[in-house]
């Protein structure tokens, strides 16, 4: 008789396990891979990534993957891509978007000797052929101009794909489709992060470039990070080489995993153990996280990574040096710089005389908690 209580009927949906969408952003910056080549060539890394993708697909029938390449001058899809460019006009859906279906790109003469689970093979064929196309289209001239990678673009592509798939999944499963951009419980005290009933998405960044070259993308990268934070999409970062200032912040802000690999040759094992568990399993696991996150920002004026900067009090823009005319470059507010640029003669005079009238309004306005000890 006592078997009925108020909580029991919630278990009916306990077995409803929504699939997860894993988006991998592979940094294909040739400069960085050239440095890594002795320990982990790109081809080996891609092979490891493919096994990892297959493992993710193997975990659930409805799991999805997407792969974005973040190259030196552009960010591009490796999987899924539309099957053929000639069918562009016919395959548009009602929104006018071109549907990206994980369709086989009609492989030339499928060799029957390879016996492979078909979803695995489609992913593998598309990723390798698209990566090959990307590499052959890269010219030495385009490489000489820049050494950084288009991480911001890749993140944006990944986010738009996730958004699109989430909407499509909700439509197909009768979820809340009215405002998919709004997390339904952003204000509540839900500590679990993602709501249980929608497509679970996450982003994994395989980073090799160092951040010094990508400081000019600071603003778009941070915007993407905040979008992920709001949508409860964890950004996992697997760092093979270089230092990634902003990516540490990305995984920290979105509760993702950050791992800098000491031994890049063990990439597959790192991926399998650290990055394969999805959000549901992560609740039960002790995750590798980083405690000493590098929170440095890049200035808005010169895109330099700064330790100490100057912040506009109106719009919170960061600048590496005080503004000449006191006008914020971002919001245009006139800022009273006070007497910032004054010569440090203040200190010198203080030493000579104890009581002296400070020469600026800002100096008098600042109360000093402990008076300078007298001589």
């Amino acid at each position: 008789m006592n078997t009925i209580d108020a909580t029991e009927h919630y278990e009916t949906s306990a077995h409803d396990r929504p699939p997860s969408l894993l988006t991998i952003i592979v940094d294909t910056n040739p400069h960085a891979w050239a440095l890594l080549n002795p320990t982990l060539p790109l081809s080996t890394a891609i092979a490891n990534i493919l096994v990892f993708l297959n493992a993710h697909l193997a975990c659930n029938y409805a799991n999805e993957v997407a792969v974005v390449a973040s190259h030196t001058h552009k960010a591009t899809w490796l999987y899924p891509v539309e099957s053929t460019t000639t069918r562009n006009s016919s395959s548009k859906d009602i929104d006018g978007d071109i549907t990206m279906r994980p369709q086989a790109p009609s492989p030339p003469a499928p060799s029957t000797s390879i016996n492979k689970y078909r979803p695995f093979r489609i992913v593998e064929e598309q990723v390798s052929s698209n990566l090959h196309a990307l590499m052959t289209s890269t010219t030495p001239e385009s490489l000489s101009t820049t050494t950084s990678t288009m991480m911001a673009g890749a993140l944006t592509l990944a986010l738009s794909h996730i958004n699109r798939r989430t909407i499509a999944w909700n439509e197909a499963h009768g979820g809340d489709i009215t405002n998919p951009n709004d997390p339904p419980n952003s204000s509540s005290n839900n500590t679990r992060g993602t709501p249980e009933s929608t497509l679970q998405s996450r982003i994994l960044i395989l980073s090799v470039s160092s951040s010094t070259g990508s400081a000019h993308q600071y603003i778009p990268i941070m915007n993407s990070i905040f979008a992920c934070q709001r949508l409860h999409i964890p950004i996992d970062v697997c760092k093979l080489s270089g230092d990634a200032v902003f990516l540490q912040q990305a995984s920290d802000a979105t509760k993702g995993i950050y791992m800098a690999l000491e031994e890049p040759r063990g990439l597959l094992q790192y991926l399998m153990m650290g990055f394969l568990p999805d959000q549901r399993s992560r609740r039960h696991l002790v995750l590798p996280t980083r405690v000493d996150v590098d929170f440095r920002a890049a200035c808005f004026c010169h895109r330099r990574v700064v330790d100490v900067g100057f912040v506009c009090s109106i719009c919170l823009s960061i600048f590496c040096e005080p503004l000449g005319d006191g006008v914020c470059l971002t919001c245009g507010s006139r800022l009273d710089m006070g007497d910032y640029g004054a010569k440090p003669a203040v200190v010198a005079r203080k030493k000579k005389k104890k009581k002296v009238k400070a020469n600026g309004p800002s100096a008098t306005g600042t109360p000093t908690p402990t008076p300078t000890p007298g001589p």
Binding site: M1, Y10, T12, S13, A14, C59
Partner: protein, 479 residues
């Protein structure tokens, strides 16, 4: 609670001896299917983490990997892995207890992931001359017709005549009888209690049920259960809408193919055709219950021939005042709903009715449980209900998975069932006629400690236990 979708195949597999597993795991598609379908999330993480390790992972390391609050989940995952012979206990070189993935399974799963498979276990695609391919819609239609035919035969809607009559082969009927889903009385088909439970389940559970029955009956007539099971798992890894070569299959597998075609699990133009197509019933075998909301499974149970059914998943709306609206014209679904509802009106595409105390009690008397009714209703709930309830319950109860049905209806159905369940039978053994209170108390306390005590009466000096061996031994030892 209705059985978890994977429980039945899991129970069957678990009962198999270890040598069968050894043979089963030789085939990559089997390893993949079992990995995907039978394991809980945490177990999948363990397997994948251990898969590419050269050395066994010390048990202590695995234990610290799991958060301390999740010990239950960890032990559950480890015990399932052990029962399926996937994880084995070993010791490392310096004598530390450690886990490793057993060999045929590890090799096969690695082969499945990397594609280094030599056994053709993922099927061989057949090249169909263009123009004669069977479309996915055609396959879905075929699967739906066959499956509804099977269910209709069980429920007895064949006489309604609104549907095209599906001719069921003798094998199908025999299998349903052998599985005690139907009984033939006076040459009339009568559904059994198990049959009611069966028809109310979701489609993927039904398919597994049938397949396990098939494997059992095949073993009974001398077919090798490994071969049959391997073929089932092979089917589950095929792709919908593609045709596959038959000439790699053994004669027994060809025979299975014909039998499974009767259920709509595979499709072949004729028994002699050189190729076969898996239908969605086969290709979604390794998906878990979220595939229920797949458009096609929805169409399988939804209104027949209605183009809009592809978009939606379910068709039943229940209000908090117990009224039921079902957008269906399928005689099968109508007769299922009529099992536990008092139907009021019938329109071309809609029936309405009400869940009442009488109707639920009638269903319970027929052997249907409240859990079956609830799981049937929530499986086929209209998208509008899902949407409404999901948005409402996430706003006020964060963290609790939302219930699709109105909680008051769910609770009331359970209470109505409990009205009948006032007696609970427990088989066991009664100990009585103790001479003194002390003589009575000691074994009684012992039985309570070992957890077999079901009932006791100090006044009458009697107690009732579910198992007597240990208590009897205890009594002997005191004499």
């Amino acid at each position: 609670m209705a059985a978890a979708p994977s429980s039945r195949p899991f129970e069957y597999l678990e009962s198999l001896p270890g040598t069968v597993f050894f043979k089963l795991y030789q085939q990559p598609s089997t390893a993949l299917a079992i990995f995907r379908r039978m394991l809980p999330d945490l177990a999948k993480c363990f397997v994948m983490a251990l898969l590419y390790l050269k050395q066994p992972l010390p048990a202590a390391d695995l234990e610290v990997w799991v958060q301390s609050e999740s010990l239950k989940e960890r032990d559950n995952a480890l015990s399932i892995l052990g029962r399926l012979h996937i994880l084995s206990n070993t010791v490392t070189a310096d004598n530390v207890r450690a886990y490793m993935v057993t060999d045929p399974f590890a090799t096969s799963l690695r082969n499945a992931l990397t594609g280094a498979d030599q056994t053709q276990s993922f099927g061989v695609l057949s090249h169909v001359p263009s123009g004669s391919e069977v479309s996915i819609a055609g396959l879905d239609e075929y699967a739906r017709r066959q499956w509804e035919g099977v269910l209709g035969y069980m429920v007895g809607t064949g006489g309604l005549g609104t549907q095209r009559e599906v001719t069921l082969s003798k094998g199908v009927k025999e299998l349903l009888q052998a599985g005690h889903l139907v009984e033939i009385r006076d040459r009339r088909v009568e559904i059994t209690q198990d049959g009611f439970a069966f028809v109310l389940q979701d489609v993927s559970t039904q398919v597994w049920h049938i397949l396990i029955l098939y494997v059992e009956s095949a073993t009974a007539i001398g077919m090798d259960s490994v071969e049959v099971l391997s073929f089932v798992f092979l089917l589950s890894s095929l792709e919908l809408g593609k045709s596959y070569e038959k000439n790699h299959l053994t004669s027994k597998q060809l025979r299975m193919l014909t039998d499974l075609a009767d259920f709509g699990i595979v499709y072949q133009e004729s028994p002699d055709a050189p190729r076969f197509y898996p239908t969605r019933l086969a290709t979604t075998l390794t998906s878990d219950s979220s595939a229920l909301s797949n458009p096609i499974l929805g169409a399988l149970s939804g209104p027949t021939g209605d183009p809009s059914s592809k978009a939606g998943t379910g068709f039943i709306i229940i209000e908090t005042n117990y009224r039921v609206y079902a957008y269906t014209s399928s005689p099968l679904q109508i007769s299922l709903i009529a099992l536990f509802t008092t139907l009021k009106y019938r329109f071309p595409n809609l029936i309405t009715g009400k869940i009442t105390r009488q109707s639920v009690r009638r269903a319970v008397e027929m052997g249907i449980t409240a859990d079956q009714i609830i799981s049937y209703l929530s499986t086929h709930a209209h998208p509008q209900m899902r949407k409404h309830n999901v948005s409402r319950s996430t706003s006020n109860q964060a963290g609790i998975p939302p219930s699709v049905l109105p909680p008051t209806v769910v609770d009331q159905i359970r209470l109505w069932q409990l009205e009948r369940d006032r007696l609970k039978a427990t088989s066991g053994f009664l100990f009585k006629d103790f001479v003194s209170l002390a003589e009575y108390e000691a074994p009684c306390r012992y039985a309570e400690e070992i957890g077999v005590l079901a009932w006791k009466s100090d006044q009458k000096r009697m107690f009732f236990v579910t198992r007597h061996e240990q208590v009897a031994a205890f009594l002997r030892s005191r004499k």
